[in-house]
Subunit: 690 residues, 2 copies
């Protein structure tokens, strides 16, 4: 391979490659291989294809770019730098350093121009499907025959890993089903994975798989060098108007390195002499680092200028839109800002203890969701083929289909993982508050995407019904035990388990106000009674007293479907000598946001607290001296039999409370601990955790 | 559709369908649709095709059957009943009742003849890939030219849901790659899912997808009626010797019901009049329930007899094998019993505090794994394309490949979910102790399979390296925070986070002795020092003292990479007035198995305990008054910078311990709590949880 001629294109690609080498060498970390192989693809995308304006990374009709193989982030940072986003050469030199804006994988909250956080493989591709769905949806909703304000494309670069991960099959099958024709995936087919050649594990026919999904496929045989071929393929993709397009870009990993084409260059910086070799090979001074030739700067300035001009032309269209369609423009503005309309809460149903009968919280949820959907057109979502079980169907809307992208109800199919990742994409696009649904146990099928929602501050409402052994007959394979613990342990996942209709309404209020992360709502399959003294407002405190006892001698704290049996226990014969307070605690994290005073009021020091929840007890030690929970998996039987088997009935709870406190006091006495110190104040209740 | 002629075949299929109707109606729960549609397929499988012997469900060369769409379990129970497994008509009537052996989804621990627990969709299909891999592996290892003791097939029935779930793409891509020619998947293509027609969400070309994966595909257009067609397809599948086979069985869900062909019949019993209608239609007395005509009983007795005869013929072969190859036969016997060979621990490496340098526990793990692999040929496994990072490559074996199925190192590709589910299949087959590996954060990609391993008591060793923010530069997308909490909260997942080489050896001993469930080992990417006083034996207690202080005034308990900074903290200036004990706690559940006496000895009542772990603190409240943990996601930077940022250094830990205890004592004083009751005994340490 000889030094390339200094055309602007080849100079640019050489520059990208040498910057990659410098970034990873300076960081003493990172992944040079994929960025070097992809340099030509990226150069074509950013200079010939994509519409963007670095001076306004939030332009709502910008093309969306997703780097699904997030480990190739050096490439993305370099392109953002070259095109004039607010990323300096210094930022490139700080790659993988503490508090830099160029971390080891792209994070949307850190770096201007990064649309979604990627790295866990396959997620970005599914996000891309969500971004393309959002585009199609908003285009159908807001575009006018004379004003096309949404017509952007979504471009995704992904690698072998993304395609091996099951989530990509889920998402791409759905994308094909919906015929998302503004979604273009560029597959970095570099024949190399971490273990070695992809032939070790990945010999399927990728293009055939994507055609089976209903995609159009194109192969670019020499995509590390053939700019024209890459550009031609993307232009061909633009002509495909009925389906998404998969472009197999056959690249050479680590292009330019002495180890190019091997796994050697995947995950660590090049050797020092190879760094110099690469620079020499591309006609660069081997001793210069982070060098961008003037010809390249010029090329990118021109590209950026073209982007700004396109943005200006779009602005003209949008001004026309504002003038001709002021109502729609106002609504669009509100939605893109993420503001809720005045009076959005007004239609919320309420439940009355004395009047309303038993009702599953999934049923209450269905009523609330539908009430909200009437005033909040930004609510768009669906279920993973559990619509009749999760009660998520929207009365106000038909299904999202190939021809009906303006609709708001999504049939995700049995694809939980893609569902949540697609919702991340919908949220990232803007103007949409996504919701999705399955059984709580199956949040484990999609948790990596929930985690990314939390890390990336994507608002979405995750409705998880059938939330415990209370689902009954389906048995332990479907009965969540540890799932709620996982949600609570994960930073920034608002986890709410309401006890009745009013608390479910409270959960929705919290979810809609929780703009910076996902809310997981745990809802019952089985009917539960309306709780006396429950209210949406009080439930927003996270925990509150539903049965008062002056100077309580025992506190039972419960959540969801166990609040009712806890209240029964309080009345039980076995506890007739106790003054029992019952606390409903739908949400730990909301409670932890309350004042120390309020927290102490709910859990006064020195009073024994026993928690009741039909889930793993892990973590309840924070609020209670003992927890009645699930220490095994559940069982298949009618719900009431399963509840009885595992002691979640009023009498069983009362008996355990009585036995536990007696036994504890006795043991403490033997240890010389005085009565009123037996139940030491729980530290958390008194202090903030941080 | 007229009443069918009373041939044995059609009588049998009618019987299966009416039994399905009776089971689900009696249970007032369950899924009649799929079993009714699949009756002909099942009848052909159990009477014409499969080799099994109900008098010995553990026959090692039996054909393996997996019902991946586990909700169709009524079908499986009925077939097991008809063929003479230990499932009575009474058991069928107890479907979904408490403590029955016919739960709402098949559970291998409950029901004779159920190979794997299914229900969470896609898992069974991936288990099937594992069962077929195990067969191919053991056949290559143990078969002799004159004695083919392993030649069984694996048959999987799956539904639309299984195919939509990403895990099935992962597993089936790998199955195609390996050319597993004794794997036959029968796809219940019934055009119906819970939401309605599959066209709502699932329009991809399934057969084309499987061909892209390297499978042979066959379509049976009328599989609810055409016995011959089903049988012909399976016989064709038997002739395919270089790849797995996917048979698209086009069925009619709820065949016989007035609602056949619709989602109506999927997930709830038929209406009473429809129950009678079905029976009438098939020529049965509408008022009789659970009726099996004599002709059908005879047919199945004959089938079972043929199975026993085949088993007898196999026994002859095996006796010849035992006589001719006594060493191999003995070894096979040992392995199928799950017994470890004498002296298996002897080759385990040890580490010496004063001599051995810092070493990542993933590195120690690699040494131990390889030492064990030399004496334990049953160790078979690999990594999800992270071999060079997880140090799991076996020196003693080449890769498992199409031609090298006797090998023991599996290149799973970037397919964590299929990996663990395949390992469940390997374990279910017997004779293999599977291991697998990825980064701890990505256990979330495979957790549904980990959960099923725990529920089904599948032994497997799950090596999760890069177990915290200590992985450094890759950043928060890759840094586990809540993952270890999830593992600990899940029943029967032995979760171990060793601090150094010796504790890692202890973790392997525990994992190999943990015959009835998965062991998750959390291992560092970064180097950690060898701990003075650490030992494999002591680490098996779950927690033990690594730094003693007579009459301690403060206990710091830590796990994994935080034990070393905890020890540093104990020596720090900030704690010079304290008598600091340091406890290393690699495993909660092993500790909870110890005597109350031992637990009290480690954590004496009244002494403040502070936990240190670079993970979510959730649950540490069980053992500590305060936990230094991760309350946010991590950060991308060199490991030491990240550890510093999040306070996991000796000085920071010391300072927090000092400040916390002072503040706590002061607050308690203000509340009138006397000194020695300030730090109430932690209840768990004193009592067993149960």
């Amino acid at each position: 391979m000889a030094a390339e001629p200094r055309s602007a294109n080849s100079a640019a690609v050489a520059t990208i490659r040498t910057l990659v080498v410098d970034m990873t060498s300076t960081a003493k970390s990172g992944h040079p291989g994929a960025p070097m192989g992809l340099a030509a693809v990226a150069h074509v995308l950013w200079t010939k294809i994509m519409r963007y304006d670095p001076t306004d990374p939030g332009w709502i009709n910008r093309d969306r770019f997703v780097l699904s193989n997030g480990h190739a982030c050096a490439l993305q940072y370099i392109m953002l730098h070259l095109t004039g986003y607010n990323i300096s050469i210094e930022d490139l030199t700080n790659h993988c350093k503490l508090d830099s804006i160029t971390p080891g994988h792209p994070e949307r909250l850190l770096t201007p121009g990064v649309e979604v956080t990627t790295g866990p493989l396959g997620q970005g591709l599914a996000n891309g499907v969500g971004l393309a769905m959002a585009q199609a949806h908003l285009a159908k909703e807001f575009n006018k025959p004379d004003c096309r304000i949404f017509d952007n494309y979504t471009y995704v670069i992904c690698g072998d890993g993304c395609l091996m991960e099951g989530i990509s099959s889920e998402a791409c099958s759905l994308a094909g089903h919906l015929g998302l024709n503004r979604l273009i995936v560029l597959y970095d087919d570099n024949h190399s994975s971490i273990d070695g050649p992809t032939e070790l594990a990945f010999t399927e026919d990728r293009c055939a798989r994507f055609r089976a999904f209903g995609w159009h496929t194109i192969v670019v045989p020499n995509a590390s060098e053939d700019f024209e071929g890459v550009e031609r393929a993307i232009r061909e993709a633009h002509t495909i108007t009925d389906r998404p397009v998969f472009i197999d870009c056959q690249t050479i990993i680590g292009y330019g390195s002495v180890n190019q084409g091997t796994a050697e260059v995947h995950g660590k910086p090049l050797q020092d002499d190879d760094v110099k070799n690469v620079k020499r090979k591309f006609g660069f001074d081997p001793d210069k680092t982070f060098f961008v030739p003037e010809v390249v700067q010029k090329e990118y300035r021109a590209a950026t200028l073209r982007g700004r001009e396109r943005h200006d032309r779009w602005r003209d269209i949008f001004h026309h839109y504002q003038a001709s369609y002021p109502r729609e423009a106002g609504e669009l503005d509100r939605r893109m800002r993420g503001a809720l309309p005045d009076g959005w809460r007004e239609g919320l149903p309420t439940w009355t203890y004395s009047k309303d009968g038993d009702e599953a919280t999934r049923t209450s949820s269905g009523k609330i969701l539908n009430a909200l959907a009437r005033t909040l057109p930004e609510l768009v979502g669906g279920a993973a083929d559990l619509t009749p079980s999760t009660f998520t169907k929207l009365d106000v809307s038909d299904d999202v289909t190939r021809e009906g992208m303006q609709n708001r109800y999504i049939r995700f199919g049995v694809r939980e993982h893609a569902m949540v990742a697609i919702c991340n994409g919908l949220a990232a696009y803007g103007g949409i508050i996504p919701f999705c649904a399955s059984f709580l146990n199956f949040i484990e099928y999609c948790f990596p995407a929930v985690r990314l929602a939390a890390m990336s501050h994507h608002q979405q409402i995750i409705l998880m019904t059938h939330d415990s052994i209370g689902l009954g007959e389906d048995g332990p394979t479907h009965q969540a035990v540890e799932a709620i613990t996982t949600c609570r342990a994960t930073p920034n996942v608002l986890t709410i388990r309401p006890a009745d209709g009013n608390e479910t309404a409270g959960a929705y209020i919290a979810a809609l106000q929780n703009k910076n992360g996902p809310t997981v709502m745990c809802l019952t399959r089985q009917k539960v009674p309306q709780i006396q003294n429950s209210s949406a407002a009080k439930s927003l405190m996270g925990a509150y007293i539903v049965r008062e006892a002056a100077n309580p001698s025992l506190i039972i704290v419960a959540s969801g479907s166990e609040v009712a049996p806890a209240l029964e226990a309080a009345e039980d014969e076995a506890l007739h000598t106790e003054r029992v307070r019952v606390v409903s605690m739908p949400c730990w994290s909301l409670f932890e946001e309350q004042s120390v005073g309020y927290r102490r009021e709910v859990f006064p020091p020195g009073v024994p607290v026993i928690a009741v929840e039909a889930a793993a007890p892990t973590g309840w030690e924070r609020y209670s001296h003992y927890a009645i929970g699930m220490r095994t998996f559940g069982a298949s039987a009618p719900a009431k039999d399963v509840f009885k088997k595992f002691n979640f009935t009023g009498p069983a709870i009362a008996r355990i409370c009585r036995d536990y406190t007696a036994r504890h006091i006795e043991t403490m006495k033997r240890m010389g601990v005085t009565d009123n110190a037996c139940f030491a104040p729980l530290p958390t209740v008194l202090y903030a955790w941080s």
